[in-house]
């Protein structure tokens, strides 16, 4: 399987009473009270250093993502980070996994197609092109896109992106939301016919259909862990089967929070407060921000109103041991982590493309590197062979990296491309 290091680029030093004093970590947190640009510059550099450390340590990919006006993740342009990572990892076998630039917030959306093509060129064909719908907070509340148009705009932009990468001739796009008379992308990606596409989702049934119909890798970017995702991911696999596609595990991606220590007790001592910081402060927002009226289509709205299943647990009342027990975080000794990932994520969800979040909330730089190092040395090697015996091909991974990355690639990292 393929295992990538994911990063949110959080504010690591929010005040202790943040969740009591402020309405939300997203959309409305006051910058001038909470942040300092010099310090934030340090966060960005730590983030890049941590992802480059992961690349050298043997992870298969490094992931960045896009959020706006958000203190738990403020890479408004993941492609700026991706460009640094692409250049610095040239010559290695590490994929640049952009999870990714959000189409409905990019106008015109071919900007994403262009930047991804640049990243593919710079990285020598190592790009994984995440094409997320974007959250309601980012797209509707921060970027002003009408909730009722959000999904339709995304779908139109998605089709435009795929066509812009592949068209042999200049074409005109006369869409409902986007009109471009002369689409003729420069540059085009190295990977043909286009870079592998991952579509992150949060369990909505219409996204399952969309992912399978478009033959992309569906990624569940969850902060609630694999146990809570089981029913949802089974729903995805049911759609895959119903539509007659092979149940290739590489069709699925999953994000899991992971913390590795010498022992289970050592992990608790080291990581407990950072895990609690993440769930108590970083995920602090009013529930109605998640879905402003019109953001869900009518069918989903009715289904959600009638069922209580998707009503999220209040994480503010939980502590470290709860998060570990319930599987929000897989934490403990290397053996514990390895066994739980195999059981809960790999087997439980049938996931071939695993993303792990190893810098969690307030976790400082040194501890992040320690967590990454332990994971890379003591956990990752025993996971890498998962799914090998099935003979599955990871069509959703850059072709030139598919067979590689069994050995450490440290020596190559940082070397320039010829």
């Amino acid at each position: 399987m393929k295992i990538s290091a994911f990063h949110l680029m959080p504010h690591r030093e929010l005040p202790d009473d943040f969740e009591k004093r402020y309405e939300s970590v997203w959309v409305t947190p006051p910058w001038w009270e909470l942040a300092d640009a010099e310090r934030v510059g340090q966060y960005y550099n730590w983030t890049l250093d941590e992802l480059l450390f992961a690349a050298r340590a043997g992870f298969d990919g490094v992931c960045t993502n896009e959020h706006h006006q958000n203190a738990y993740g403020f890479m408004p342009s993941p492609n700026i980070m991706g460009a640094v990572l692409a250049k610095a990892t040239n010559g290695s076998h590490v994929a640049i996994v952009q999870m990714g630039a959000t189409l409905p917030t990019s106008n015109p959306p071919i900007r994403v197609a262009e930047e991804y093509a640049m990243l593919d060129c710079i990285s020598g064909g190592r790009l994984v092109a995440g094409l997320p719908l974007g959250s309601a907070m980012d797209v509707n509340l921060c970027y002003g896109i009408t909730p009722m148009e959000h999904r339709e705009r995304y779908r139109e932009a998605f089709a435009l992106t795929l066509k812009a990468w592949q068209a042999r001739e200049l074409f005109a796009w006369n869409g409902r939301y986007y009109q471009l008379a002369n689409v003729n992308l420069w540059p085009r990606p190295i990977q043909q016919p286009h870079p592998p596409v991952w579509v992150p989702g949060s369990g909505s049934i219409s996204t399952f259909d969309f992912a399978v119909d478009n033959d992309v890798c569906y990624c569940f970017l969850s902060y609630s862990g694999a146990k809570a995702a089981k029913t949802m991911m089974q729903g995805y696999w049911d759609v895959v089967a119903k539509k007659g596609r092979e149940t290739n595990p590489y069709r699925a991606g999953f994000l899991q929070l992971v913390a590795v220590g010498e022992t289970d007790a050592a992990a608790e001592a080291k990581y407990a407060r950072h895990v609690e910081y993440f769930y108590h402060k970083c995920l602090h927002w009013p529930i109605q921000f998640l879905s402003p009226p019109g953001n869900q289509d009518y069918k989903s709205l009715v289904a959600a109103a009638k069922s209580n299943i998707r009503r999220a647990e209040d994480t503010k009342s939980l502590r470290y041991r709860d998060f570990v027990e319930k599987g929000y975080v897989i934490a403990g000794s290397a053996a514990t982590v390895r066994d739980r990932i195999k059981e809960e994520v790999v087997k439980g969800l049938r996931v071939g493309n695993l993303m792990v979040l190893l810098q969690i909330g307030s976790m400082p730089h040194d501890l992040t590197l320690e967590n990454m190092d332990r994971f890379a040395r003591e956990v990752l090697p025993s996971l890498r062979g998962e799914w090998d015996d099935g003979g599955w091909v990871n069509h959703w991974w850059p072709e030139r990296l598919r067979g590689a990355a069994t050995a450490r690639t440290a020596a190559a990292v940082g070397a320039g491309r010829a």
Binding site: G144, T146, P147, M148, Q288, A305, K306
Partner: protein
């Protein structure tokens, strides 16, 4: 009360129109929370033939019709077609909030269709110093506090459907959320969609009605209308918030009767 559904927009948008009463035609355009036939409309029906259309998408049987429309211009044209189908040459037009903004747009687009224009706490303008509260971003449990001066009133219960039957309450939540989405589609994220460029075309005598304790659209917005529409007057309603016609139906109905009869 009777109802009929009229298909406009080449048959693709079905608009249900509720009506009651006798006398001159009065069209009521509802706000962002959908249409509920209430004592206010009953009161008006004593003097007028009240015609109350449901905005596209807000009728529970045809939620997806709203997707046929891209913008406010499309919506205004739909209402022109509706008025044509209803045989309304010239009617008194009353609108609340979103419906007030729409009524004003219609009066600007088709001055001859509107004999009298009454706007109850209408949207349509934006002042940085007096921001309109975005009701679509509020905690649904707190929404009644912003809309009604007395959120526990019978009128509030009718609008927000906080009854005892859980299934009915669920469907009321759906109806409310979708009504906000379907009307919000035309005004997101700021309810200023260029009325200021068009409002000079309004020719009808105009009355503005505002609840004195409106916590959603501050009463100062009345100035934006009165300074642009010649002869427009403002009447404020004591003891009312954002929905004075529901909070003080007798008072507002009387204001309207007097205004339309002038």
């Amino acid at each position: 009360m009777s109802e009929r559904t009229i298909a406009v927009w080449d048959g693709k948008v079905r608009i249900r129109v509720r009506s009651s009463g006798a006398g001159p035609a009065l069209v009521f355009l509802h706000g962002p929370w959908g249409l509920t036939w209430d004592p206010f409309l009953d009161e008006l029906a004593k003097s007028f033939t009240v015609l109350a259309p449901e905005h596209p998408g807000t009728t529970p049987e045809t939620p997806d019709d709203v997707h046929q429309l891209d913008n406010l211009w499309d919506l205004v044209l739909c209402y022109d077609e509706l008025f044509q189908a209803l045989g309304l040459e010239s009617a008194a037009l009353v609108g609340h909030a979103f419906g007030g903004m729409l009524a004003c747009e219609l009066a600007a687009a088709y001055p001859s269709r509107v004999r009298r224009l009454a706007l109850i706490a209408p949207l349509g303008f934006w002042r940085d110093a007096d921001r309109v509260v975005n009701w679509m971003m509020l905690d649904p449990a707190r929404l009644p506090d912003y809309v009604f001066r007395d959120p526990k009133s019978e009128a509030a219960r009718r609008m927000f459907g906080t009854g005892d039957d859980p299934d009915a309450a669920t469907m009321a939540r759906v109806r409310l959320a979708w009504a906000m989405g379907a009307t919000g589609k035309f005004i997101w994220p700021i309810p200023d969609k260029g009325l200021k460029k068009r409002i000079h075309r309004v020719a009808a005598p105009t009355l503005l009605i505002w609840g004195k304790e409106d916590r959603l659209v501050p009463p100062v917005y009345a100035d934006e209308f009165t300074r642009r529409i010649a002869g427009a007057r403002v009447q404020t309603v004591d003891g009312a918030g954002h929905v004075p016609h529901l909070e003080r139906p007798d008072v507002v109905a009387r204001m309207l009767k007097e205004f339309v009869a002038e």
